[in-house]
Structures are given as C-alpha cells and as structure tokens.
C-alpha cells in the first residue's frame, strides 16, 4: 500500500483515531482536512468526489468540498450535500425485520434468525420448484464488488438463471445500441472534461440541470468557448433553457428526428465521406433509412418544424467536432435501442466518433449504472461484460470461481419479465432483492406490487424501509456509502473508490457479509474456495479483476491503490502498467473489423399511442431534489421541502380545455392504473403531453400508469410514453 494512499484513507487507524478526538467539537477547516475521508457521493452516475469530515451536531459526518477531484471540482448538488441525513438512526433500518406469517406485521429479529429464515426459504423453494424459481434482483446503485458477488451468488449458490437488475430500466437501450455500433458499451467514450472543447453538443432527452447539476458546468463552459448546445426534449427543461437551439418533439419522436437530421446531412452534403469509407460499415442502408424520413414527414411525426430541423442539421453537420449525448428520454421506449442507433448514425455519418472531442455517449443514471451492468448481475452476462452464452467466457469465469463451467446457468429473464412472472406458474417464487425499489420504480407498478405480494418469500436488503421492503418477509439492513469501502464506475467509465468514513450502527451489515453468511447456510459446490465470498471489499475487487480480465470491461490492471492515486482509472485497463483508457475508439472501434456499424432503423409508433379514450401523452421523469424511487431522498427533510410531492405538469391551453386550475388535484388514468396529483401549469410543455415525476409512492405514483411494453433488443420498458386521460380529480370522483 502506497504512502499516498494510506494518507488519504480514513481506514488508516491513525487517521481514525484522530477523527475520534474531534467528537462533539466544532471543526475548523484545517482539522476537517486532517480527519477527512475522500470518497464519492451516494447518488447519481457522476459520482462526484466529496470529502467527509465531522462529526457535526446534526450528523456523524459532514460533507466537505473535494476540489481536486476532476469530475466535479468540489461542486455538489443538494442531494449530495444532504446525504449524511440518511445516516441518522431514525430514518434508516438498524436491525433485521421478519414477518412471521403472510399479512402479519414486521417485527425485529436478530441476524441469525433472519439469515436462517432466508436460507431455509430459498432452499425450500429451490427444492420444490427448481433453482430457477429462486430469483435475484439487483440494483445499479450497488458497488462493483456487491454486483459482482451478487451475480456469483446467484449462479454458484442458488444455481438460478434468473438474476437481473433495475439497470434494465435505466441504460439498457443505450448499452445495446452502443454494443451494436461500437462493439463496446461504456457510457461516455471520453472524459467529461472533453465536453467544453467540442463544436456542437446535442443533448437528447437529458436534463442534467436537474439530474446531475454539477455536470452543467461543462455545458456552460462549452457555450462560453463558442460551442453550440442543442437540446432535444418535449419539455423546456432547465437544461433546455441553457441551449442555443431547443427542439421540442412529441414523445416518441426522437428516432424520426435523428433520421430526419441524417437525411438533411445527406442532402446538404455534410457527410464525411472519407470517415465513412475508412472507419464504418453499413452506411448505404442507414442512408436509405434516412431517405425514408424526409423533412416534411419528420415534421409531421415529431412536430418539429422543418426549418428547425435544418438549423439543427446545419449546426451539427458543419461543426468541426460534435457530440451526441442521450439519457432516458430517447432510451426508455419500446424502440429505445433503435432510437439510440439512429443518433449514433448521425455521429458516424458526420465523422463525429472515434476522434478527439467527438462521439456518442450516454448519460448513465444510477451511481454505479455503468459498473453495475458489467460484472454479472445482468441476466445475460458474466463479469467483464462477457456474454453468458459464450463458452470461452463461461470457462474463464468458472475457473476464477472454482466451479465447473457446465454448472453456470444460461441467460435468465429480463427485469420486467422477471417481475411480471413472480408467483406465477413457471415464475420466480422466492426473490432476493438488493438496492432497488420496484414497487415505485417499475413500470405498471400496481401490477408489480401485486406480483411481489404473491411470492412465497421476498427478501429485501436495503438501508431504509422502502415501499418494496415493506412488502418483504425478511428485511436485511445494509450499510451505506459512508460506512463501507467499494468501487463504482461512473458514466465516464472511470472506476472510483468509495471509502469507509465511519462504522455502521450495530445491527447493520454489508451485503458482502450477508452473501457469505447465506452461502455458508445454503452450501457451495464441492471444491469451491473457502474465501469465495470475501467480506473485505478490496479482496472482492481483486477477484473481480481476475474475473473481468480479458473481457470488454477489463479491470485487471486497476487496484484500490491506483484508483486513489490517479483520481480513478478508466477501463479497459488490462494490466497494472497500463494507463487505463480515457478515450475510446481513437484508433479503431471495438468491433471485429475495427469499424463502427451503422444501424438501419426506421421510425415506428410507440406501443400505445393516444386515441379517443386516452388522448394525451404521459411522459415521466425526474426533479432536482429527489432521486429515483425516492427511497433515500424522501427521507431527507431539506430535499422534501424543495420537492414535497408529485405533480402533473400541463400546458395552460390544455388546462383551460380540461377546466383545471393550477394546484388543483387531477386524476391521470391509463389502461393500467390511475394517479392523482396537483396540476402544475406551465407553457414549458407541449399541449399534447403531460409530465409526472416518478419519485413517489401512493396515490401520486406515476408508475401506476406506465406501460411495460419492452424493447425487443434491450428489454427496456416504455417508461417515457403512454396514453392517458386527464380530468379534475373532484369531478371524476363524483359520479
């Protein structure tokens, strides 16, 4: 362990001792620095660097600036700053909970009893219904170590094919399109610091001003240095307000829009012929697709006037360098993979990929959205972003695990399919769920909640009693960010290190410990190594490195010491003397022939378009002061004060037609359910569309309405678009 690493690390006993001496005292900044732990925010995929000092009068740690970390250079949003509120004992779980019989209350229990109950329940279901009746549902917020061992636990101990995670609801469409085009899926192929240097940036269905505020600095810098920002969003978001040009298509229009821009790039002679010839394949088919999307037709499909399309095509096509970044807006559709493919086509046709300051990227969502999808908690993958169907991959991973390759199950069900089948014949009967809250965040959440209730055994590991945990038979309280070591991989593909700054409460354990204990109770295959489920994160990471070696997401050369010393290491990093890969594809793309592949795609309607009975679009999204299902942020007073509850955003003309006043409760109804929330009237939204944030449970749960139609490739549900009708709630209530 290097000296530099030791000095920055609160795990060091000396530093810890020093921290303890400040208990109860007001810290000076010098003192804070001396006792500080350098770590990262528990929330989004930026994984902003932060420094934890403290304790303070209100919390056991205090969030301080960490100005030397390059991603955020000290800046934090309200979510990150208020994260210590979740360390308080009264908002979190501090001991296991058990339900003695269905419908009974959750009661406190000791760890041995809870673990015995879980192991016995899983074993019974496995014995009665076979291993695939036991399922695992993970999360994109789990560290790489947890995600890796959860996947290993599912395949080795449970022997089930059915493990998937909520990242399926997050980045899966971009991931699929990325792999199809470039042969590799990493959120950004370049570091964030490249963004201000590009000529023209197109943000498609991304609202970083609310979802990752510290990133906004890069967009501002871009404009200050003369670059152009184009934002595509059906709403005039805070991000759209920063733009030079805002295109406001109707929901579901992004695929046609991208093809329309590609069409104009062809028409206006802005194709980079040399690049297309040298570094790509399939242009002619993509061009033919674009020819089927001529400007008048695209205007008709998207609602974006032709002159705006021309302006956007010219700005992007004529720029020397350019980037397209997508987020959930274009991705969470039953055509999400094709939509992202079309935006990648636009980059490829104009030579804006695989070159400095150019390329396509995805703004991943969850804290470890990137790493969480690389190491084996996805139904079809093994660590290192390997395919579970590839014999060589199975052999490699089996060797690291010390098992027979033949015992590793094949691909399982995707997230929604897994949830949809819970308790059904042939479906999962016992589910182990970690780091996710599908009772709020899954599409068609009313139905999913019913499915969760129908399980023989639901085990939830979480730090708070989420809506999903409330449904569980066993709730296991687990450690959170400031209480554990572990790596995450941010949207840049930068592997970073979270450090333990304080001890968890007495009754709280890490997921790694839980997995080891369960493995011990359930039994492991003969010959399985004794330390096959390490409790120390660094030991787990070292095994992950070996498992990922040679895969697409190769972490072999990354160590805790290097991460600390280098402000994170970018994968792929195949050897300890390899510098890591900050910028991908500069020489070649990761396809067998080194060329990027155009996608030949065509606009198609959403699974459910508005009609006479459900005449409006509903689109869903996020607000600044809440995060995902709200399980964490809804427990923080200052965040609730800023964003107290759900609402239905609608245009004043729509409100007038429906006879709805600002603040009045409105009922939103789809074919799947109903939600009630106050109207928020603004001309920032299209008159044919209403918007609801999805962070809340209960009557205002947006996901009661959403459509679980899946993308055929990525299995992403259509969160961003369904057909609804809207009426004043009082009027509707009186028959």
């Amino acid at each position: 362990m290097s000296e530099a690493y030791r000095a920055r690390n609160i795990g060091d006993p000396v530093a810890k001792q020093r921290a303890a001496t400040f208990l109860g005292m007001t810290l000076t900044s010098t003192a804070a620095l001396a006792a500080a732990t350098d770590t990262h925010c528990p929330y989004c995929s930026l994984q902003c660097g932060m420094r934890l000092g403290g304790p303070t009068a209100d919390a056991p740690v205090e969030v301080l600036e960490r100005p030397d970390f390059p991603v955020n250079r000290g800046a934090l949003c309200g979510k990150g700053r208020s994260a210590p509120a979740l360390l308080a004992r009264d908002v979190r779980l501090t001991g296991p909970l058990l339900r003695d019989h269905p419908g009974g209350p959750l009661r406190s229990a000791g760890w041995p009893e809870a673990l015995d109950r879980v192991a016995a329940g899983l074993a019974r279901v496995r014995a009665e219904h076979g291993p695939d009746a036991v399922g695992v549902f993970g999360g994109g917020g789990l560290t790489n170590e947890k995600a890796y061992l959860l996947g290993k636990f599912a395949r080795v101990v449970l022997g089930t094919a059915n493990i998937d995670y909520n990242g399926r609801f997050c980045m899966s469409s971009a991931a699929a399109a990325h792999r199809r085009a470039f042969g590799l899926d990493r959120g950004l192929p370049f570091p964030l610091e490249d963004i201000p240097h590009t000529g023209c940036l197109v943000l498609v269905g991304a609202n970083p001003a609310e979802t990752m505020p510290p990133a906004v600095r890069y967009f501002r810098e871009l404009r200050e240095t003369g670059g152009t920002l184009i934002v595509v969003d059906p709403r005039r978001t805070r991000t759209a307000e920063l733009a030079d040009l805002h295109l406001q298509p109707r929901p579901g229009g992004d695929l046609a829009l991208a093809l329309g821009l590609l069409h104009l790039v062809v028409a206006d002679g802005l194709v980079d012929e040399e690049f297309v010839a040298r570094r790509t394949t399939g242009f002619e088919q993509a061009r033919a697709s674009a020819m089927a999307h001529w400007p008048d037709r695209v205007e008709r499909i998207t609602g974006v006037p032709v002159h705006r399309l021309r302006e956007a095509a010219r700005l992007f096509g004529e720029a020397e360098t350019g980037m397209v970044l997508t987020a959930r807006g274009p991705e969470q559709h039953s055509k999400g993979t094709d939509t992202v493919g079309a935006w990648i086509d636009l980059c490829l046709a104009t030579g804006k990929a695989g070159r400095p300051y150019s390329g396509y990227g995805c703004l991943t969502g969850q804290g470890n959205g990137q790493g969480g999808r690389e190491h084996g908690q996805k139904a079809d993958q093994l660590p290192g972003y390997r395919s579970i169907e590839d014999p060589a991959a199975r052999e490699h991973v089996a060797a690291v695990w010390g098992v027979d390759p033949a015992t590793i199950p094949g691909p399982g069900k995707s997230a929604y399919e897994l949830l949809d089948g819970l308790g059904e014949p042939g479906g999962v009967k016992a589910l182990l769920l970690a780091g996710s809250n599908p009772a709020v965040s899954a599409p068609n959440a009313g139905h999913v909640t019913e499915r969760l209730r129908s399980l023989d055994l639901l085990v939830v590991a979480d730090l708070v009693l989420s809506e999903t945990a409330r449904l569980a038979d066993v709730v296991l309280p687990v450690t959170q960010w400031a209480e554990e070591d572990g790596t995450t991989t941010n949207l840049e593909g930068r592997v970073i290190l979270r450090r333990r700054a304080l001890d968890p409460p007495e009754g709280v354990r890490s997921e790694l410990w839980v997995l080891r204990e369960l493995a011990a109770r359930l039994g492991v295959p003969e010959g399985f190594p004794a330390d096959g489920f390490p409790v120390e994160a660094e030991q787990a990471f070292d095994e992950l490195r070996r498992a990922s070696a040679g895969g697409d997401a190769d972490y072999a050369g990354i160590s805790y010491a290097r991460i600390a010393a280098e402000d994170g290491v970018f994968w792929p990093c195949p050897a300890e003397d390899h510098p890591g890969t900050r910028r991908l594809f500069l020489d070649r793309f990761a396809t067998p022939d080194g060329r990027a592949r155009f996608a030949a795609v065509t606009h198609r309607p959403a699974d459910e378009e508005p009609d006479a009975a459900y005449p409006l679009y509903l689109t869903t999204g996020r607000v600044l002061s809440q995060y995902q299902s709200g399980a964490q942020t809804r427990r923080v007073a200052e965040l609730n004060a800023a964003a107290p509850g759900p609402y239905v955003e609608m245009h004043p003309r729509l409100a007038e037609r429906l006879g709805i006043a600002d603040g009045e409760p409105v009922a939103v109804t789809s074919r799947r359910g109903r939600a009630v929330a106050p109207a928020r009237i603004t001309d920032a939204i299209r008159p044919d569309t209403v918007f609801m944030p999805f962070h809340w449970a209960g009557a205002g749960r947006a996901n009661s309405l959403t459509n679980p139609a899946l993308d055929p490739v990525s299995r992403m549900p259509e969160f961003k678009l369904c057909a609804v009708r809207v009426e004043p709630a009082q009027k509707e209530a009186t028959p």
Partner: protein, 407 residues
Amino acid sequence: MTPRIAVVGGGMAAARFAERYGALGGPGTVTVYGAEPRAPYNRVLLAEVLTGRYDAESIALPLGGATARPGCEVVALDPAARTLRLADGTVEEWDELVLATGANPVLPPVRGLRRTDGYGLAEGVHTLRTLEDCARLAEDAVGARRAVVIGGGVLGVSAARALAALGVRTEIIHQAPYLIERQLDAEAAEVLRERLRTLGVDCYTGNRARAVHGGEKVGAVELANGYRLDCDLVVLACGTRPRTALAHAAGLPVATGVLVDDGLSVAPHVYAVGDCAEHRGTVHGLAGPAWEQADVLARRLSGAEPDARYPGTRPRARLSTGGLEYAAFGTVDETLDPGLDVLRLTDATRGSYKKLVLRGDRLVGAILLGDLATVDALAGAFADDGALAGHPLHLLTGGTAMTGVAR
C-alpha cells in the same frame, strides 16, 4: 408453406410496404416488380435531385428483406390462377398480390406535345415523375435559357423553382386563377407568386397552353390568348392519373383508381395501396397517405395486426423547399360557407401569410406561408378535431415554445 407476396410496382408505396412487412416479422417472401430500371427511391425528392441537392444514387429507399426486381414490368394479372406475367413472358405465382402501380403524369390537351411519329414526347418536352425523367430534364436544362412549366400545382411550382435554381428563366402557365388552388387561397398564392418572382419564376395564371411549337426541338408555347412564350424547355405538371390498366384488364374493380375497402383489399388475396388506390371515393396521390396505407397493409399481411384498418388521411399539404414554405390544412376557402370566420396575418416585408378559418370555436382550415413557426400547434389543433382553448391567435404567432439560436 411460406406465403409469396408479389408487389406490382416499384414506387414509394411498394418500398414502404416491403420494408414494414419485413420489420414486422412477416413470414412471407416479398418480391417487388418495378417497371423502372432501378430499385425503389424517394420520388418526393425529385425536384431536388434536379437541382443537384441529392445524387440520384442517394435517394434509394430501404426494402427490408424484400427482393427488388427492377426493370420487370408486369403486363398481366390472373387473380383466379394467382399468377402474373412479366413483359418477357415469364409467369410468376403469388399467394398475395399488392398493387402499387402508382400514377402516370396527365398529358394536357395541347397540340405539339408528342413527336411527329406519335411515339413519346417531342424533344424538349418533359414530365417529372421518375429519376429517368429527372436525368433527361437535367441534361436538357444545361444550356437552356428559358423554360415553360405547364401547370401551377405543387409539382409545377417545385419544378419551376428547381429550374430557376439551375439558372433557367422559368415561366409557369396555370389555368386556374391562382397557383396551387387546391391547397391555397388567392392571397396566399399571391404571396407565393411574389416569392417565386424573386427566385426567377414568372407566373401566368388564368392562362391555358394551346400548343407547343418548334418541330424537332421545342421553341415556344402558345397560350390560348394567342400570346407566345419562347422557350427551350417545356415541363408538363398537370397532375397524375392512377395506373389502373392492369387491374382493369384483370377484371378487378376500378373507378378513378383501383377500389379498396378499409382493409385495402380489392378482391380475395388482392390489395392496392398508394397512388393507384381509391379509398372511400378518394385518390390521394400523395406520399403521406400512400405510406399510411402501406403501413396498414403491412400490419395486416404480416400478421402483426390482421384487423388493421385504414381510416383515411386528413388532407395536409406541405411544401418546404428552396425558400418556398407553406402548410395548408382543411378547408381554406371561407367564401364557401357564410358561417365561417377568418383570422389573417400578412407580413409583406417578410413574405409571410397566415390564415385561420374558424367555425365558432373550432378550427376548420389554415394556411401558413413563409413563416411556419406554429405548424406544430396547428397540426395539434387539427388532431384534436379543431377544438380550441382560448384565443386562437397563438396558432398564428409564437408556436410551441422553441428558442432560436440565441447568439
């Protein structure tokens, strides 16, 4: 057995059907028989191929997994035997037949259009329906000084604009009192005419061409009023007529077009889509409705939605080419009905004209010309059956909330 689907005609509707059928996972094999020597392309873009904005090669359309048989003209159909015969005498079998034969340009009753031997058009006289037409016209336009376009509808205006862009002084002769009279009103047409004038196109409306003079090579067009326009080129843009001869000869029901029901069915196992089809008394002759029909038929025949129905297409006219921009919806002539009101905004300086036709608080028609900022809001209002909330002025000014380039 894998169903064999024969598509007769290789135009836009054919391409769309083939592509969608494949994309929807249709189990059959699709063969597209086209008389033209090349695989389907986007005909909407021809005027801009003429200006050189698009290469002829670059406007090919996707076909999915279908087999294109360009240069294979179908000359006879036998719906009972489920066969078709090609020009070379080959007989091919099919299980389902899709007629997408399109339309032919209408030749107006003007003397001297044809060659003296009666075959084909006289030298210098052109239509603009195919890429071959386009190539010939482009070749002729090199070195031409003056052109006359007979017909002032959308195609005539687009063709004239394209010729002017190539440096050929161009005149439009149009029989109706004003340009594009099916979609615009007189005031809009006047603004358009002014715009055309600045682009190098003059218009003679309320005039009819009587004869084309010149012998071997066209030299002038004589108008009904005796006036003579000297020219090296004539382009005929007098509309199109559905190609129904094959269907007619096969005993299939034909009126103006091949008659289809809401399922686009003509007879058992025979369907028609696009410019050749007549649905509820309407032959659309536009790419938008043709594609909607092709989409519906692909959903039916692929099995994705066997009961899909084509409900018809609301008329919506749109031109957005080389400095000419307009959109027209619904009923634009308020003089037809005393119950209609009009809201109009004209800006001569910026060359824009905008008009709403209203019945009470419902929108029944609209024209936007020169300034299309509110085109999306208007389309939205029409999608809502014209129901309006509040004052409709927002449909003429502002548009949906879109910022321009700020710097």
